[in-house]
């Protein structure tokens, strides 16, 4: 008996040590593979809007009351901290995002390993998650919907799988933080609670124990939600704006997608992730068969988690974009790794690491061939995106003709970020837009998928004229067509029912510069107060 206990302890020690070694290898691989792409992706669209919002908050803009934030506040506050620590250096902001991603990688591996009890499959799955080509830029350029979210969701899962009260309470805290970064955190929470409830039947856990576990999770969640809502309502005094801008925008104001449009974006996602989806489907089937024949039910949770959340993501939100599914990648990668590891085990009883790595590289290589979108607007490893560099140039030009306390207007927040200047929002109580697209006016617009929608009618051009009237030193109008649906053309020209600002601008401002760049479809027109 003593011999038995000693062997068990030795085994567990070795296993713990092996886990740590695997984690270290995963971090090393992530650093080596992701860092070269740190600046190759363009700094515009959502990332620029979020990062600029962090910058504006750091400079004293009150969230929701002074700047429109379409998401809950936590992600923006984290970015404000990052901008402050790095003195508004994009490169360093992205590096901090990457560090948070590395923490997420650790949680991903530990969750997969804990649920499945298969360290090698978990290691292989996490490795695929790290090396799958699209992930090489998402890890630091999609802070809210990917970096923070994945880290918080998997932290919540990691603690949620424990029986200890403190861990369950911590799981609730992390779930709350995930929700306060991005609303799909709610779906993740429902999936976790669903799993805890179903364990009542699968593992024959008494109801009292299940309800206690759920109660601890919900307690932690409540602390975060009440704390955040308290800050919004009492400290920022921006509760009505918060409701309109984040909840209202997502649930009622925004034009919803038709089934055809949702199908379009689901197809786009499946196309990009097709290697993982293909292998993951086989892995999911193996997990189900394993559960049915060998009563190994652990992996079923991963299948359940992926299927439920994927379905909820398709059904619940009014709109759907491919990046909504990105945070599911760790689980999909695990399921994709499963047939690879099974095949390797079948080929050779003692696993060859070389063969394993070769097989893991196979889906990655296939992914590279299938996924051409990873290089869209990117300039390759070890380079700075030309879009980013151009916006930096425009920002520096704007900084040279303004002082730090003078306000500017641009629809591209990265310019303001690089200029170290604040953007004036339109004269609206509810919609202090700073960085937005062409869907905010009372006119039709065509989205990236080619579908036409009626705009949200949040603001009108005259509200911009009113805000520019006395305070604004410089306006930047972006001309031309490119990857971002800038609102400048609609704002400038207006429509038959909505006059544009062109006449007003021409009579109050002077055109001082037209900045153009090789390979950039946009021209940046700078107007200075006369």
């Amino acid at each position: 008996m003593i011999v038995c206990q000693t062997r068990v302890l030795q085994h567990l020690k070795l296993r713990l040590s092996l886990q740590k070694q695997l984690v270290i290898v995963l971090i090393a691989v992530a650093v080596a593979s992701h860092l070269p792409f740190l600046m190759s992706g363009p700094f515009f669209s959502d990332e620029a809007i979020y990062t600029y919002a962090g910058y504006a908050i750091l400079r004293g803009t009150v969230p929701y009351a002074g700047i429109t934030l379409p998401q809950p506040p936590l992600g923006y506050l984290l970015l404000a901290g990052e901008v402050g620590i790095t003195n508004a250096s994009l490169l360093l902001v992205r590096e901090i995002n990457f560090l948070i991603y590395l923490v997420g990688v650790i949680f991903v591996f530990r969750v997969l390993e804990r649920i499945s009890g298969r360290p090698i499959t978990s290691f292989a799955g996490t490795l695929i998650f790290i090396l799958f080509p699209p992930m090489l830029s998402y890890s630091f350029s999609a802070p809210l919907e990917f970096t923070y979210f994945v880290t918080l969701v998997f932290a919540a899962l990691y603690f949620g799988l424990s029986d200890r009260r403190l861990c369950l309470f911590g799981s609730g805290i992390f779930s709350g933080l995930a929700i306060m970064v991005w609303y799909p955190g709610l779906l993740v929470l429902f999936a976790l609670l669903g799993y805890l409830m179903t364990s009542r039947f699968v593992e024959n856990v008494p109801w009292s124990k299940v309800l206690k576990k759920v109660g601890f999770v919900l307690s932690g969640l409540t602390v975060v939600l009440l704390g955040t809502l308290g800050v919004i309502a009492l400290y920022w005094k921006a509760y009505p704006q918060f409701l309109s801008q984040s909840l209202g925008l997502q649930t009622s104001v925004r034009a919803g997608f038709s089934i055809a449009e949702k199908s379009y974006f689901i197809t786009a996602y499946l196309q990009v992730f097709s290697p993982l989806v293909f292998l993951g489907s086989i892995g999911g089937l193996l997990a189900v068969l394993n559960a049915a024949y060998k009563r190994h039910l652990e992996e079923l949770f991963l299948v359940f988690w992926f299927v439920i959340i994927f379905t909820l993501l398709v059904i619940v939100p009014k709109v759907l974009f491919p990046h909504y599914f990105w945070f599911l990648t760790p689980v999909l990668a695990y399921l994709a790794a499963r047939p690879v590891v099974e095949l390797t085990s079948a080929l050779r009883r003692r696993l060859s690491i070389v063969k394993l790595i070769a097989l893991l590289l196979l889906p990655v290589a296939v992914s590279v061939l299938v996924y051409s979108g990873a290089s869209n607007y990117s300039t390759g490893p070890f380079s700075n995106s030309s879009f980013t560099a151009d916006e930096q140039y425009v920002g520096h030009y704007v900084a040279s003709i303004t002082t730090v306390n003078q306000l500017i207007w641009t629809s591209e927040p990265s310019i303001a970020f690089y200029a170290n200047r604040l953007i004036i929002p339109p004269n609206s109580t509810l919609w202090k837009l700073q960085g937005f697209f062409d869907d905010v006016f009372n006119t039709t617009f065509t989205d990236t998928a080619g579908f036409q929608h009626q705009g949200s009618n949040l603001v009108s051009p005259i509200q911009f004229e009113q805000s520019w009237d006395t305070k604004v030193r410089v306006l930047i109008f972006i001309r031309g067509s490119g990857p971002i649906p800038y609102p400048d053309a609609v704002l400038w020209n207006g429509t038959s029912a909505m006059p544009g600002v062109s006449g007003w601008v021409a009579s109050h401002y002077s055109r001082v510069a037209l900045l153009t760049f090789g390979g950039n479809p946009y021209a940046y027109e700078v107007w200075e107060r006369s």
Binding site: L35, I120, N384, W492, A513
Partner: protein
């Protein structure tokens, strides 16, 4: 060594993260105050355009003027064209004006026209704008693109135009007013059949000083040359590679992976 390996890996990870930002360098090749397109400065960029159904159709340009001349028509019942063209790269028409002035001789304004044309692109769409002094009919060689024409009245054998291109596009009802890019500008004339009233030789002269595309304000064009100093990544990466390689080697050699491929269960340990 075995105990040191994880520390070494983490050290090289930290080293990579610290050194990597230092490796970025970037520079601009910037041309500031780019002069607008004008015949007086850019006449050397002109090239032959159309030359159809004319005898001795020729042109010459210098910093004072651009002159197009033809001595006769080959077939009086066919269209005749002579033009010169220059590619330009005006990314935006907002605020851009098209100016041209000059004089003509021999042309019958009821059956011919001085033509200044612009080819504009907007995403995948391409159109041609014809500014026509004289008969506003469009000859059938309008090319592959959708076209519009804008008539301009001649005054005593001379012409003078200053056009806001964006306003013209707006008046013409094009789908987008401000997202067009000007790709080329052409100067010339056209004679429509029958050409009995044309008195040869025909000559059209553009004043270089008043002919071109203008934009008010400062204009800059830049090209960014991003570069990365590889040793900042390469050296920590090598260290990372070596230490991680050793770690993997140690893991696989000392402890075959198959023995940890599943969670140990108490019931599997013999008692």
């Amino acid at each position: 060594m075995r105990a040191l390996l994880p520390t070494l890996i983490l050290s090289s990870v930290v080293l990579s993260l610290v050194l990597f930002p230092l490796g970025y360098v970037g520079s601009y090749d910037t041309v500031e105050n780019v002069p607008p397109f004008s015949l007086s400065n850019n006449y050397s960029n002109l090239g032959a355009g159309e030359n159809h159904n004319l005898q001795s159709g020729q042109w010459q340009a210098n910093n004072a003027s651009l002159t197009l001349r033809a001595n006769n028509m080959i077939n009086p019942n066919d269209w005749a064209f002579l033009s010169v063209i220059s590619t330009v790269d005006f990314p935006m028409v907002a605020g851009t004006t098209l100016n041209f002035s000059g004089s003509f001789g021999g042309l019958d304004m009821n059956a011919s026209a001085v033509r200044v044309s612009l080819i504009l692109t907007h995403s995948s769409d391409t159109i041609t704008l014809y500014y026509l002094v004289g008969n506003p009919s469009i000859p059938p060689n309008q090319g592959n693109y959708r076209y519009y024409f804008l008539p301009i009245q001649p005054v005593n054998g001379a012409f003078l135009a200053q056009r806001d291109i964006m306003r013209d596009l707006s008046d013409l009802g094009t789908k987008a007013d401000s997202n067009w890019e000007i790709r080329s500008v052409a100067y010339g004339f056209a004679i429509y059949p029958p050409s009995f009233n044309v008195r040869f030789p025909v000559e059209v002269r553009f004043d270089s000083d008043n002919t071109g595309l203008n934009y008010s304000g400062f204009n800059a064009r830049s090209n960014y040359f991003g570069a990365y100093s590889l040793p900042y990544y390469g050296l920590p990466f090598l260290l990372l590679l070596v230490t991680t390689g050793l770690q993997v080697f140690e893991m696989t050699l000392r402890k075959p992976l198959s023995s940890v491929s599943s969670r140990p269960r108490l019931e599997e340990v013999p008692t």
